[in-house]
Symmetry: C2
Subunit: 213 residues, 2 copies
Amino acid sequence: MSYQFEHNPQAIEQDSFRQIRSLTELDHLSKDEQQVAMRIVHSLGLPSAAEQVRFSAKACDAGRAALGKDCAILCDVEMVKQGVTKRMIKTPPLCFLNDPQAATLAAEQGETRSMAALSLWQDHLEGSVVLIGNAPTALFRLLEMIEAGAPKPALIVGMPVGFVGAAESKEALWQAHQALGIECITLLGRMGGSAVTSASCNALLRCNIGEYY
Amino acid sequence: MSYQFEHNPQAIEQDSFRQIRSLTELDHLSKDEQQVAMRIVHSLGLPSAAEQVRFSAKACDAGRAALGKDCAILCDVEMVKQGVTKRMIKTPPLCFLNDPQAATLAAEQGETRSMAALSLWQDHLEGSVVLIGNAPTALFRLLEMIEAGAPKPALIVGMPVGFVGAAESKEALWQAHQALGIECITLLGRMGGSAVTSASCNALLRCNIGEYY
C-alpha cells in the first residue's frame, strides 16, 4: 500500500492557511492580528480557538517594534524557547526555569519553579517580549511584579494551559492590562500551551519580514 | 490588588488530575491507558480530547518495557524532545530535524525536512519509542519505511497536528498498525502537537516509577 500525501512544505503551509481562513471568522481583526490568530489555530488544529484570542489595543505594533529591535524574549519553559523560529531572531530567547537558583528558591518558598524563575527576569523585563505558555503561576507572579513596579515588557503573550489557574491567570491579565499599562495577547479559557505561545511570537516575526498568509 | 492562586506544585498537579478525572469518562481504559489519556487532556486543557485517543492492544506494555530498557526515543521535532521529562530518562531523546543532511536531502527531493530526517532514523528504529508530534509527513514516511521492511519500533506515539495530512496520517497509522505488527498510541482528528506527544511518553515513564494519578 502507498500513501498519497503532499510532500512539499510550501504547498502544505499554503493549503493549511487557506483552510484556516475558510474555517474562521477574522474580519474584526487587523491584518497583523489575523496572522497571530491563524498561527494559534494552526498550532492547535482547532478553528474555534480563534474566538478565544484577545489582543490589547497596540499589542501587535508593540511586539513587532520590540522584536524588530532584537529585544529580550523571555520564556517560562524550554519548549516555548524551542518553538521560537531561530532563523528570524538574532539573539536566543531566555529561559531561567532550569537555573539552579530557581530550584533553590522554589524549594525555600514552597512554590513552583516557574514562579521562582521570574526573580531572574527582573533585569531583562524592560522592553522585552514575554512568552508564558505553560505556567499560570508564572503569569500571576509577573502581574504581581509589574504591579509592584517592575520594568514593563513591550508585550506579554500569556497563554498558559490547564485546569488549575490557567483560565484565571489569563482572565487576570486581560482584566488588568489597561490599568497596568501593558500590551498583551492572550487565549482565554483552559487551552493554551507552548506551541500557541511561540507561534504567536513567530507570527509577529513573520510580519516583520513581510511573510503574510 | 493581589492575586489568589495556588503556589504549591504538588497541590496544583493533584487538583489538575482530580478535575480531569471528574471531567472525562475513562472506565473503558486500562490503568496505564488512563494515565496517558489524562496527560493528553492535561496538556491540551481539553477534556473532550480523551474521546479521540486510541491505543493498540499492547501499546502501553510495549512502550513501558522499551522505556524501562532505556530504548532510543526518536522525536520528529526539537519541541517534542524538549518535552520529555529529563529526570525520568537516562539517554537524551534523538531528533535529526536540524541535521544538515536532512536539509540537503529535503531540498534535493522537494520534500519536508521532517520527512527527510527519517532517513537518519533507520539505525535507531529497532525497539525504539517513536514520538511524532508535529509533521504528518514524518508519520506517513515512517509507515512507508516499515512497510518496506525497516526495523520496527516498540511503540509509535503518532500525534501530528494541523490541517493538511494530520488527521489522515493518524487514521493511516490506526488502520495499518495491526497489519504492520506495530503498537501505537494516537489522537485522531486535527488536534495533536508536541505537548500531547511528549506527555504521552512521560505518562508511561511515570507508570514505570509508580507515579499514578
